[in-house]
């Protein structure tokens, strides 16, 4: 199947529109306790995900590499992963329902933003043709998705702790928000770490060195250490509540700097995909 550039862009915009409709339905359902709306939101989001998956798959075949070689592909696959992870985790942990208030808009905003970048076909350097690269990138994307969920819980905690009224009353109790934020931060940390290790194996296979202290690598390790400090504080120093939520948000910002900031600001193998 051939996918022209125009059709690719149009299909992506269609996915954006579907995700927006899903957001309206779902967020209305969650905030105003209207279950049919909420369920409709999930169904529409599922339909958007099917279309989005098809576009990514056909484009993958078309360009000959996964969605990680251009800002357009990176943001599109990140948004896909956020929605996919949210729906999977929702099946396992139904209490994460209110996270859709943040995860759904994050999905359509990232996908929409991706379409403002030139969606041209990029070539894949020969060193990038390694299964470890796919694992490396895939795990970072899962990590980002789980960190966004943890970020939502931290943000909800801070808002609800300040004023428990209006729509905030629909959220789970503070203790639940706190523990869920903690566990999803743990998921994010472990996927981040494994992603980093997979990258290290790829680097060893391609260049004979498993660590090179390039700016993105260094920031990735800083992020890992900061999440390590967060988890350490929570486990051994009983850090919780607002302090934990603020600390996590700081770590989350650092993770965004590692993923997007360094790719834009620095020059290294890791910035190739954001040129």
């Amino acid at each position: 199947m051939k996918l022209s550039l125009e059709l690719y862009v149009a299909a992506n915009w269609a996915a954006v529109v579907i995700y927006i409709l899903a957001t309206i339905a779902n967020v209305t359902g969650v905030l105003f306790k209207k279950e049919p709306w909420e369920r409709a939101g999930y169904l529409i989001a599922g339909a958007g995900l099917v279309l989005h998956s098809a576009v990514i798959t056909v484009w993958w075949v078309e360009v000959g590499h996964g969605p990680y070689m251009a800002p357009n592909e990176v943001l599109s696959s990140d948004s896909w992963m956020v929605m996919a992870c949210f729906l999977v985790f929702l099946k396992i942990y139904p209490r994460i329902r209110p996270v859709s208030i943040l995860a759904f808009p994050a999905t359509f905003l990232m996908l929409g933003l991706s379409l403002f970048y030139n969606p041209g076909i990029r070539t894949l350097p020969a060193t990038f043709r390694s299964i470890w690269l796919v694992i490396h990138i895939g795990l970072y994307k899962i990590s980002l998705a789980t960190l966004i969920i943890a970020f939502a819980f931290s943000l909800f905690y801070l808002l609800k702790a300040r004023r428990d009224s209006g729509w905030l009353r629909q959220l789970p109790p503070l203790e639940t928000l706190d523990v869920y934020g903690y566990r999803f931060a743990g998921f994010g940390f472990i996927f981040w770490t494994i992603g980093m290790l997979a990258g290290s194996i790829w680097a060893h296979q391609s260049w004979g060195r498993f660590w090179g202290w390039d700016p993105t690598e260094t920031w990735s390790l800083i992020t890992c250490l900061m999440f390590g400090a967060y988890l350490h504080l929570r486990r051994f120093f009983r850090l919780k509540g607002s302090a934990a939520a603020w600390f996590f948000i700081a770590c989350f910002i650092i993770s965004l700097v590692s993923l997007f900031g360094m790719a834009t600001l620095s020059s290294s193998i890791h910035s190739e995909y954001f040129r």
Binding site: S130, F189, L197, S206, G208, R209, F210, M226, H232, S268
Partner: protein, 439 residues
């Protein structure tokens, strides 16, 4: 000794170490490092931060990762993790058999043993241990007890062995043009080694016979092979083919094909006095027919300006493996272009006051020779970290404990070792079944 151990494993020390390492790494991103910055960039930074330059020099902050004090911090971190792993092993062994109910929720009382066993089985709680006084302990995801232990053990192993690798590794890189030969007496194009290692030497003569590039139907390079002949002690030549992402082993060294390869152009330059100069210019393989591959800018003996080049794979823009590439030469001074010309094999040109001619094209590639030991242990450590992390965060253990009463029935308690809130439904389900069973 105990005080030292307490200090090494103190939670505050661990936290301090994590933050110290994160801080040092942050410093390395704002102070240019010798390892990844050009000397002129370091100089420019020093001029802009003259007040800090003295402190940076005293602490050697331009090469943080090569400092003995950094290695000492890493070693201390590995030691702390190792000792803490041992402590955790002791704790885990106790946890597995412990029937303490201090922080547990009481689910039900007066439960017969058979009902307790049946409810435990229905909820995938496996029998773990029986106390001497008739206590029963069941567990779900009992392997989760080992998560933190494995995570810390893996970290300790990776850090220790990585430090060993960093101190003892040796590597050198050769940039060779087809037909070119090197031996152990000639220097590497680039080489480096750990603090405790001597420079790597080539074990014999090595010759690059041919570079082969395979393109896909989109005209993108898919695979690159460098066919090598390596001289043995008996005077024979052994051939092997190095390729990107396919490591070759030779005499304890691993040979990597780098992503740097392309065409090497022989160019003859004739100046106004009629003196002929020859240059070999290696430029990176272009990624497509319409995009150029570039060389570095370099000084030449025959001109006060810098020379650089770019080339297109095919002057006719038809095939990526053309025998007639198009070469563009440039003379520059700072950011100013002094002269430019385009050459093909049949078409000579004029570069400023020089007449230039493309006299030959061959392929070149960069090969990296690495000698180190310990990598299997590093990767084993990676596997242990991954396993530990997944067990720790994906499978937190839960316990169902029955305390036998004088009437032979049980008080039943439940606890989750972490993330208790996630398992409330599981707990409530068991409570309901236990109470229903008694009723």
């Amino acid at each position: 000794m105990n005080k030292l151990k307490q200090f090494i494993t103190a939670r505050r020390v661990s936290l301090g170490l994590i933050l110290l390492l994160a801080g040092l790494m942050y410093l390395s991103t704002i102070i240019p490092q010798v390892i990844d910055s050009a000397p002129e960039n370091i100089e420019a930074w020093r001029r802009g931060h003259s007040g800090l330059a003295g402190l940076v020099d005293v602490c050697h902050l331009h090469s943080i990762y090569a400092q003995p004090w950094f290695a000492a911090i890493i070693l201390f971190a590995a030691l702390a993790l190792g000792v803490s792993s041992y402590d955790q092993l002791v704790v885990v062994r106790k946890k597995v058999v412990s029937t303490g109910v201090a922080s547990a929720d009481e689910l039900a009382a007066g439960i017969p043993e058979q009902l307790l066993r049946s409810v435990a089985g229905c909820h995938h709680y496996r029998f773990l241990s029986a106390g001497g006084d008739g206590q029963l302990k069941f567990g779900r995801c009992p392997w989760g007890y080992y998560g933190n232990l494995l995570l810390h053990t893996g970290l300790a192993l990776v850090i220790t062995v990585s430090l060993y690798v960093a101190l003892t590794y040796r590597q050198g890189a050769l940039i060779l043009v087809e037909g070119e030969q090197r031996d152990g007496r000639q220097p590497w194009n680039v080489s480096e080694q750990g603090l405790l290692a001597t420079p790597l030497k080539l074990p014999g003569v090595i010759r690059l016979d041919r570079v082969r590039v395979r393109f896909d139907d989109k005209k993108q390079p898919v695979e690159v092979f460098s066919d090598l002949s390596i001289g043995t002690a008996s005077g024979q030549f052994k051939t092997l083919s190095a390729s990107i992402n396919r490591i070759q082993n030779y005499h304890g060294m691993r040979i990597y094909h780098s992503a740097q390869y392309g065409n090497a152009f022989s160019v003859t330059i004739t100046d106004t006095n009629g003196v002929v100069h020859t240059e070999t210019i290696s430029a990176q393989q272009p990624v497509s027919l319409t995009k150029a591959g570039y060389s570095d800018e370099f000084r030449v003996s025959w001109s006060p300006y810098l020379l650089s080049a770019k080339y297109f794979a095919d002057a006719d823009k038809k095939t990526m493996s053309s025998a007639n590439p198009e070469l563009v030469l440039r003379l520059t001074q700072g950011n100013r272009e002094i002269a430019r010309t385009t050459l093909t094999k049949e078409r000579p040109g004029t570069l400023g006051e020089y007449r230039v001619q493309l006299s030959g094209v061959a392929r070149w590639s960069k090969l990296i020779f690495v000698e180190n030991s310990g990598m299997p242990l590093v990767f084993s450590g990676f596997a242990i970290i991954m396993l530990g992390g997944l067990l720790q965060y994906l499978t937190p253990p839960r316990e169902l404990i029955g305390i036998r009463q004088p009437d032979g029935r049980y008080h039943v308690y439940w606890k989750a070792l972490s993330f208790r809130e996630f398992f409330m439904e599981e707990r409530d389900g068991m409570t309901a079944e236990l109470k229903k069973g008694v009723a």
